[in-house]
C-alpha cells in the first residue's frame, strides 16, 4: 500500500508559478495510525502570498475556461467523474477507500458506501435538475435567455471564486461544493479538514484526467485553523465562502471573515425518525426496522442528516418496545454488512460509560430498557420512555422513545429548534393527509428535508441543503427588461410577450 499521500492538489500551471515565488509553500507532514497500519500525509501549506497568487490564478482560469464553457458541458464532465468514482475497479476510488478508512477509522465498507451514496446523486440529470429547480433554466448561466415572467431577458453569473472550508464527518462529501461551484461556473479553492484530508485531492485528479482545463479551476490546500494570516489571504481572495463545521468553528469564521464577504454556513444540524402507529404493522415491522436501522447506521451516526432519536407512536399493532427489539436485530445485520468505525480508546470511553449508565438506570427501575448493547460497542439500542431530549453520542446509538402523538413529540423535540434538519417519517403508504399534517409540524420545527425511512443518507442534489437554495444563492442575476411593469397588466400579456419575439441573445 502507499504509505505516503498528498493531501493537497494544485493545477500544474499554478505549481510552476508557485515555484517562482520564494517561500511559497512548506510541507506539513502528519502521521495517521490505527492499530498496526500507518499512513503519512503531506500537506502543501501555502504562504499567504502564495494563497493570494492561487486566488488570482483561479480567477484567471475561471474567466478563460469556465466562463467560455456551456453549463451542459461542465455537467457532462462532472457526470463522467461520478461514473468513474462509482466504478469499483477505479484506482483512485480504491486508494480513497483504503486511505480514508485508515485516517478516519470508518470501515472500508462504509467509506465505499459513502462514495456510492454521494456519487449516485451527482449524475448529469441530477445536476441539470438541481440547476433547473433553483434557476428556472440552467441556460441562464450561458447567455441572456428569454424570461417570459419578466418580459425580457435574464442571465445568471456565478462568483469568480468560491472558497470552501470542509469538515470530515462524512467521508467523500467535499466534492459536493466543488460540483456546486463548477455548475455556476465558479473556480473553487478548498481547504480540507485535517481529519479527512484525502478525498478532495483524489477527486481533483479525476477531473484532471477527464478535463485538465476544468481541473485548472480548482485548488485544494490546507492551513492550520489558527493560522490567521493564511485565513486572511483566503478571505481576501474569494468572492463567496462556504463553510462546514461545528458551532465553535462557524462562530469563529463568522467573526473573522470580512463583513462584505458573502457566505453559506453549514453548521450543526440533527435529524430524527418518526413512526406513526398506522405505519407500524406486523406485516412491515421487519422492513421498517431495517430501514430505520440503516438510517441510524450510515456514517456511524456522525452526519448532520443522521437521526438522533426514533419516536414511535404508542397503541399501534406493534408496540414501540417490540419495534425496538426488531431494530436491535436489524442493527446487528447492518453492523455485519457495513461495519462500524474502529473506535479509539477515548471514543470508546464515552460509549462504555453510556452503556453502563443505561444498564444501571434500567436495573434501578427507571423507564429505560437496554434492548441490545454488545460488549464490542458496535451499536446500542435502547428504549426510553418520554425523557427529556438528549442528543445522541453517535456511533450507532438507536434510541426508541414512545410517544402518544405528534403533539407530545413536538414538546419533546423543542430543544432541537434551530438544529433540526432531516426527518425520516413513516406513514401509511399514500396517506397524503397524514403526511401533510406531520410534514407541516416538522417543517415548523425547522426541518429542511422529510423523507421515508431508509433514505436519510441519500439527499438528492435538488434538496435545499439546510433550507437554502445552495446554487441559487451563489448567482447574481442581470435582467434585461423590455417592458414597463404596467404592460404585464395588459388584457393579453401572453400575446404581448409573443410579440416581443424573444430569441437568444448571444
Amino acid at each position: 500500500m502507499l504509505n505516503q499521500v498528498r493531501a493537497c492538489w494544485l493545477p500544474p500551471q499554478l505549481d510552476d508559478q508557485l515555484k517562482r515565488l520564494s517561500n511559497a509553500r512548506a510541507p506539513l507532514v502528519r502521521q495517521y495510525s490505527r492499530d498496526d497500519e500507518e499512513v503519512t500525509v503531506v500537506f502543501d501549506v501555502l504562504s499567504p502570498n502564495a494563497l493570494s497568487l492561487t486566488c488570482s490564478f483561479l480567477r484567471d482560469r475561471q474567466e478563460r475556461v469556465l466562463r467560455e464553457k456551456s453549463v451542459y458541458d461542465i455537467a457532462q464532465v462532472l457526470d463522467l467523474a461520478a461514473q468513474r468514482w462509482l466504478d469499483p475497479a477505479y484506482e483512485l476510488r480504491r486508494q480513497a477507500i483504503q486511505q480514508i478508512a485508515l485516517i478516519t477509522g470508518f470501515s472500508a465498507e462504509m467509506v465505499g458506501h459513502s462514495i456510492d451514496l454521494e456519487q449516485k446523486s451527482s449524475r448529469y440529470p441530477h445536476l441539470i435538475q438541481a440547476l433547473s429547480s433553483e434557476l428556472g433554466d440552467p441556460a441562464y448561466l450561458d447567455s441572456f435567455r428569454p424570461n417570459r415572467h419578466l418580459g425580457g431577458y435574464s442571465r445568471a453569473h456565478g462568483p469568480g471564486l468560491i472558497g470552501a472550508i470542509f469538515s470530515s464527518n462524512i467521508p467523500a462529501l467535499p466534492h459536493l461544493e466543488v460540483i456546486r461551484a463548477l455548475l455556476v461556473k465558479s473556480a473553487c479553492l478548498g481547504r480540507v479538514s485535517r481529519n479527512e484530508p484525502i478525498f478532495l485531492s483524489l477527486y481533483a485528479q479525476t477531473l484532471f484526467e477527464i478535463d485538465p482545463e476544468i481541473a485548472s479551476c480548482l485548488a485544494v490546500t490546507y492551513w492550520d485553523h489558527d493560522d490567521q494570516s493564511s485565513e486572511a489571504a483566503f478571505f481576501q481572495g474569494v468572492d463567496h465562502l462556504v463553510a462546514y463545521g461545528g458551532t465553535a468553528q462557524i462562530d469563529r469564521l463568522r467573526a473573522t471573515k470580512p463583513a462584505a464577504l458573502e457566505a453559506t454556513w453549514h453548521g450543526h444540524k440533527m435529524g430524527l425518525a418518526y413512526v406513526t402507529r398506522e405505519a407500524l404493522t406486523q406485516d412491515n415491522v421487519e422492513s421498517l426496522a431495517n430501514k430505520i436501522s440503516y438510517d441510524f447506521s450510515i456514517f456511524d451516526g456522525h452526519a448532520c442528516l443522521c437521526p438522533q432519536v426514533c419516536l414511535v407512536e404508542k397503541d399501534g399493532e406493534v408496540s414501540p418496545m417490540a419495534f425496538a427489539e426488531e431494530c436491535a436485530r436489524q442493527m446487528r445485520g447492518w453492523a455485519a454488512r457495513l461495519p462500524p468505525r474502529r473506535l479509539e480508546v477515548s471514543d470508546a470511553s464515552g460509549k462504555y460509560h453510556l452503556r453502563e449508565l443505561y444498564l444501571m438506570r434500567e436495573s434501578m427501575g427507571e423507564p429505560v430498557r437496554v434492548i441490545d448493547a454488545p460488549g464490542d460497542l458496535s451499536y446500542m439500542v435502547v428504549w426510553e420512555d418520554n425523557q427529556a431530549f438528549a442528543a445522541s453520542p453517535g456511533d450507532r446509538f438507536l434510541k426508541v422513545v414512545p410517544v402518544s402523538d405528534v403533539v407530545e413529540a413536538e414538546a419533546y423535540l423543542k430543544p432541537l429548534r434551530g438544529y433540526l434538519q432531516n426527518v425520516a417519517l413513516a406513514v401509511p403508504d399514500h396517506d397524503l393527509a397524514v403526511y401533510g399534517e406531520l410534514g407541516r409540524k416538522f417543517a415548523a420545527l425547522g426541518a429542511s428535508r422529510i423523507v421515508p425511512p431508509g433514505i436519510m443518507g441519500t439527499p438528492s442534489m435538488i434538496w435545499h441543503h439546510d433550507g437554502m437554495p445552495c446554487l441559487g444563492r451563489l448567482v447574481r442575476w442581470c435582467d434585461y427588461e423590455l417592458l414597463e411593469p404596467e404592460a404585464l397588466l395588459n388584457s393579453n400579456p401572453e400575446a404581448l410577450l409573443d410579440g416581443l419575439q424573444l430569441g437568444d441573445l448571444q
Binding site: G246, H268, C304, G350, H353, M364, G375, Y419
Partner: protein, 407 residues
C-alpha cells in the same frame, strides 16, 4: 454496637497505618476488597442492581480485579452511599462541568470522613512530607468555608491542620486571587526562611505564574519548600503541559523540579494518588524526558488498573498490561467503604516503566501517567457532540428531570 461499615473502616484504617512501601501483598488487599464488596453489594442498592444486571454478584467474584466498577457517570445520577441517608454528614460535588445538574455527588458519614482523613494524612506523610520536615502550608484554593462541596478544599484543610506550621492557611477568598496578598505571604516566608508547601489547583497556579510574570516577581523559596497541584485546568486558565508547568514553577518560585508534584484526586475517591518523582538512573533512561521521571504511584490501599473499553464488555480480559498503551484508569480504593470501592473513570492513562519482556510494572511496583480526559474527539463537522449540545441549551432544558442525585 459497631455496624458493618464501622467495622470494615477500622480494618482498613488499621491496614493503612501498617502499610509502608509497596504495602501488603495482593492477596491481603484482595481479601479486604472482597469483604468490602460483599458489604457494598448489600448496602448500596443501585450498585447491587448493576452487579446483578452484569451477573457479577459476590458469589461469582473471587478476585478483586473482577469487582464490578461503577462508572463515574453513575455518581451524577444515583445516590451511591452505603447507609441510611440521615447518616450523611458531608456531600462533595465535582466541579468544572459546564452543566451543574450533571455533577458527581459523593456522600460521607462522619465515620467515612475519619477514614478519608487517615488516607489523606498517611498518603501525604509518605509522598509529600516524607522527610518529616514541617512547613508553612499555603493553599492556593478557597477554604472549605467558601467551598464546602469541594473535596480538594477539604483535603487541603486536613493537610494544613495536620502538617502546617503557624501562618499556614488558604490564600483565596471569596473575591478570588489577590496577587499582592499572595506575594506578601511568600515574601514573609522567604524573609523568615521558613519552608513553604504551596498546594492548590493547577489552574490557580497557572494564573498565579502569569500574574507573577506580569508583576516581574520571582521568589527563592527556602530549602525544603515544595509545590503540589491537582485538578487540571477545566478551562479556567490556559492549558499547559506538565513539563511547562514544572518550568514555570521552577522559574517563579525557585523550586527544583523534584519538589513540584501533581496529585490525582477525584470526588468519587477518598484516596488520592501522588506523583512519584525519581531520579533513579534506570527510570530516567526509560522516560526519555528529563533528569527526573515521574509517574502516579497509588498508595498501598489503592490499586489501579488500566482497561481497554473496547474489550470491557467481552469475555476476554479488558486489562492493559503493556507499557505505553493508552487505556482508562480503574481505581480500587479501600478507603471507599461507604461508596463503591471500584471506580471506572474516563481518565486516559498509560503504564510507565516496562519490564524486559515489554510488560509494564503495575501500580504496586511502577506507576501510571495520566494522559488526560477521554472525550469523544472534537465534534466533527456538521454533526453535534453531546457535550456541545448541552452547552448550547438554556439551563432549564438541561435538567434531565433531576438536580443530580438525591439520597
Amino acid at each position: 454496637m459497631k455496624d458493618e461499615a464501622e467495622f470494615l473502616s477500622e480494618k482498613v484504617a488499621d491496614w493503612m497505618n501498617r502499610a509502608d512501601g509497596v504495602g501488603p501483598p495482593d492477596s491481603e488487599f484482595g481479601a479486604l476488597a472482597l469483604d468490602i464488596f460483599q458489604f457494598q453489594f448489600r448496602a448500596i442498592e443501585p450498585y447491587r442492581k448493576l452487579c446483578q444486571r452484569l451477573g457479577k454478584t459476590p458469589d461469582r467474584v473471587d478476585a478483586w480485579q473482577d469487582i464490578p466498577a461503577v462508572s463515574t457517570n453513575a455518581f451524577k445520577h444515583f445516590c451511591l452511599f452505603a447507609g441510611r441517608p440521615e447518616r450523611i454528614s458531608r456531600t462533595f460535588k465535582s466541579s468544572g462541568t459546564s452543566n451543574a445538574a450533571h455533577c458527581s455527588q459523593s456522600y460521607f458519614s462522619s465515620n467515612g470522613l475519619k477514614l478519608m482523613d487517615i488516607a489523606i494524612e498517611r498518603n501525604a506523610a509518605r509522598m509529600l512530607f516524607a522527610e518529616g520536615r514541617d512547613s508553612r502550608i499555603l493553599a492556593l484554593a478557597p477554604s472549605p468555608e467558601y467551598a464546602p462541596a469541594s473535596i480538594m478544599a477539604y483535603g487541603m484543610s486536613r493537610l494544613i491542620q495536620k502538617y502546617g506550621l503557624k501562618g499556614s492557611g488558604f490564600l483565596l477568598r471569596a473575591g478570588g486571587m489577590d496577587v499582592g496578598w499572595i506575594t506578601a505571604a511568600l515574601d514573609d516566608c522567604v524573609a523568615q526562611e521558613v519552608p513553604v508547601s504551596l498546594i492548590g489547583s493547577s489552574f490557580g497556579f497557572v494564573n498565579l505564574f502569569d500574574a507573577l510574570k506580569d508583576a516581574g516577581r520571582k521568589f527563592a523559596l527556602a530549602p525544603g519548600s515544595r509545590l503540589m497541584h491537582a485538578g487540571g485546568y477545566k478551562g479556567r486558565s490556559r492549558e499547559i503541559d506538565p513539563k511547562e508547568f514544572i518550568d514555570l514553577a521552577s522559574a517563579r518560585l525557585g523550586l527544583p523540579d523534584e519538589r513540584i508534584i501533581n496529585l490525582l484526586g477525584m470526588t468519587e475517591l477518598a484516596s488520592q494518588i501522588y506523583d512519584q518523582v525519581s531520579s533513579d538512573k534506570k527510570a530516567v533512561e526509560a522516560s526519555h524526558t528529563s533528569t527526573t521521571t515521574r509517574f502516579k504511584k497509588p498508595p498501598p490501599w489503592v490499586r489501579t488498573l488500566l482497561i481497554d473499553p473496547r474489550r470491557a464488555g467481552l469475555d476476554e480480559s479488558p486489562f492493559i498490561t503493556r507499557a505505553n498503551q493508552a487505556g482508562l484508569l480503574r481505581h480500587f480504593d479501600l478507603a471507599n467503604v461507604e461508596r463503591p470501592l471500584a471506580i471506572q473513570t474516563d481518565d486516559l492513562g498509560e503504564w510507565r516503566l516496562a519490564q524486559e519482556n515489554g510488560d509494564a510494572l503495575d501500580g504496586r511496583r511502577g506507576g501510571f501517567e495520566v494522559l488526560g480526559r477521554a472525550r469523544s474527539a472534537e465534534p466533527r463537522g456538521c454533526s453535534i457532540s453531546l457535550e456541545e449540545f448541552y452547552r448550547l441549551q438554556p439551563a432549564d432544558a438541561r435538567r434531565n428531570g433531576k438536580e443530580g442525585a438525591e439520597c
